[in-house]
């Protein structure tokens, strides 16, 4: 790249220069001295600008936007700063020497000449070379130094990363109350039942670092998990999350911290210190709370599993007479069964179709189990030839429950009889 450098222009300055030029060419628009065709006019502007040595071999500093890598091999983009912008083109042969790939948002120094694209009367900068702007270089060096220092102190140690609580009851959020990040987080937390404690912070500009650190400290003892987040922005906007005091505040936080700064590709020191790094605020919220639908489904399944376990327990006991002793329990079971059916109806109304399908199987099993329950009820058992013996003291389950000569009541499938005990023999084989 040639060293002939006529001075570094800020874009705004360059524009002012162009504007000044124009007025010098056409000092008085009201005096009709010559009528141009548009083509002639643009031709004249082109001549004028392109012959001005001050608009050649210049450096311009700005940020790339609207970058297009055309299939012709030419690259087009807009170079802009805070107040102004200019079209730029980098032709294929110049672009071939580029040491890096251009992308939107990059801060660059463009070397080249001002030119006019006549068909559109557009002033543009024909780039002959592009360098990454070194303006950020010093800060990046600083960043590396801070990173090294904190790593040396063990702030990034994996062994100190804490697990996130499964069901947090208090969720602390450090961010700007006005930001889109907060809206995203609140939307995802949605109906999950937790207290949300917002600790407002200024997340960019002067004083942001102190503000964020303070907001994190303010949550001490008040949250089960803390989300430190901010929406996307320029590297400068996100820079406060690279600061040492924010890193230390996260490190000292008494609950696990999820960091979510900018977009997926933005990684800051805060992300290294946090217990978990989320690519975006939305993702952070998803990590902080369980999936409420999955939880609902789990509850329904727990109910079904309990019912199933109960029924199969009953099935195992179906031939046991001692079940009759608990005829009260059998009634309770009937009541529970019908209650459970209603409950399943109620629950299934609230479930999505996919979940309903899962439930159908459980339903069938419950119905089956209910049929079996009916089969082991006292009446069904009596019909199979069993009988219930009762003394004034209650059910007769063992020979010791009665004494010879005593009268017992024997309940049959149909009717009952009174009988006198002749003999009590505990040694008889258990026929149950």
């Amino acid at each position: 790249m040639r060293a002939a450098q006529t001075g570094e222009f800020a874009l705004t300055e360059m524009h002012s220069a162009l504007v000044a030029l124009k007025y010098r060419v056409y000092p008085d628009e009201y005096i009709l001295t010559q009528i141009f065709t548009v083509t002639d006019l643009n031709e004249r502007i082109k001549d004028r600008l392109e012959n001005d040595p001050r608009l050649h071999d210049l450096w311009a500093r700005g940020e790339i936007s609207n970058y297009v890598n055309h299939r012709s091999g030419h690259r087009y983009f807009t170079l802009k700063d805070r107040d102004s912008q200019i079209s730029c083109v980098l032709f294929k042969n110049s672009g071939a020497r580029l040491a890096f790939e251009l992308k939107d948002g990059q801060n660059v120094l463009v070397y080249g000449d001002v030119a006019v694209y006549r068909p559109q009367g557009r002033v543009q900068l024909m780039a002959r070379g592009i360098r990454l702007d070194e303006g950020l270089g010093f800060r990046h060096l600083q960043l590396e130094a801070v990173k090294k220092k904190l790593a040396g102190e063990g702030l990034f140690g994996l062994e100190r990363k804490r697990e996130l609580p499964k069901y947090p009851e208090r969720i602390g959020i450090v961010t700007s109350p006005q930001g889109a990040a907060l809206r995203d987080v609140l939307r995802i937390i949605g109906a999950y039942p937790a207290r949300i404690i917002l600790s407002p912070a200024q997340v960019q500009g002067d004083g942001a670092e102190e503000s964020i650190a303070l907001a994190i400290r303010a949550l001490r003892g008040r949250a089960d998990v803390v989300i430190v987040c901010r929406g996307g922005g320029s590297t400068e906007d996100l820079w406060c999350f690279n600061s040492e005091i924010v890193a230390r505040a996260i490190f000292e936080c008494d609950s696990p911290v999820i960091s979510a700064v900018g977009h997926e590709t933005d990684v800051t020191i805060a992300d290294f210190v946090a217990d978990v790094r989320a690519p975006t605020p939305t993702a952070a919220a998803e990590m902080a709370v369980p999936d409420i639908d999955a939880l609902q489904t789990y509850l329904v399944q727990a109910q079904v599993r309990m019912a199933r376990a109960l029924w199969s327990g009953l099935e195992r006991k179906r031939e046991r007479l001692d079940y009759l002793e608990r005829s009260f329990s059998a009634q309770k079971m009937y009541a529970l069964a019908s209650e459970m059916r209603q409950r399943l109806d109620w629950l299934s109304e609230r479930l999505g179709d996919a979940q309903k399908e899962k439930l159908t199987e459980s339903w069938r099993r419950l119905e089956l189990a209910q049929g079996r329950l009916a089969a082991v009820g006292p009446r069904a058992t009596l019909l199979r030839g069993y009988a219930i013996a009762r003394s004034p003291r209650g059910l007769v389950l063992n020979a010791e429950d009665v004494r010879p000569g005593e009268v017992v009541e024997v309940i049959l499938a149909k009717g009952r009889i009174l009988a006198k005990v002749l003999e009590c023999n505990s040694d008889a084989e258990d026929s149950r």
Partner: protein, 69 residues
Amino acid sequence: MSEKEMGLEEALDDLERIVEELEDGKKSLEESLDLYEKGTKLVRLCQARLESAEQRIESLTGELPPNLD
């Protein structure tokens, strides 16, 4: 700890233990019924928790986001 104070996590842990105990099938019928009833209460408790959820936001500085839905 009363049920009201019981956290979601604790309730879900208890529930899981009860379901497993029931499925284990080693309890007597009475105990199983008790477990079943306890478990059902926990399911209801959790469901009530999940449904009671109106988002509650507090701000440490009093500054809240504009236009909360």
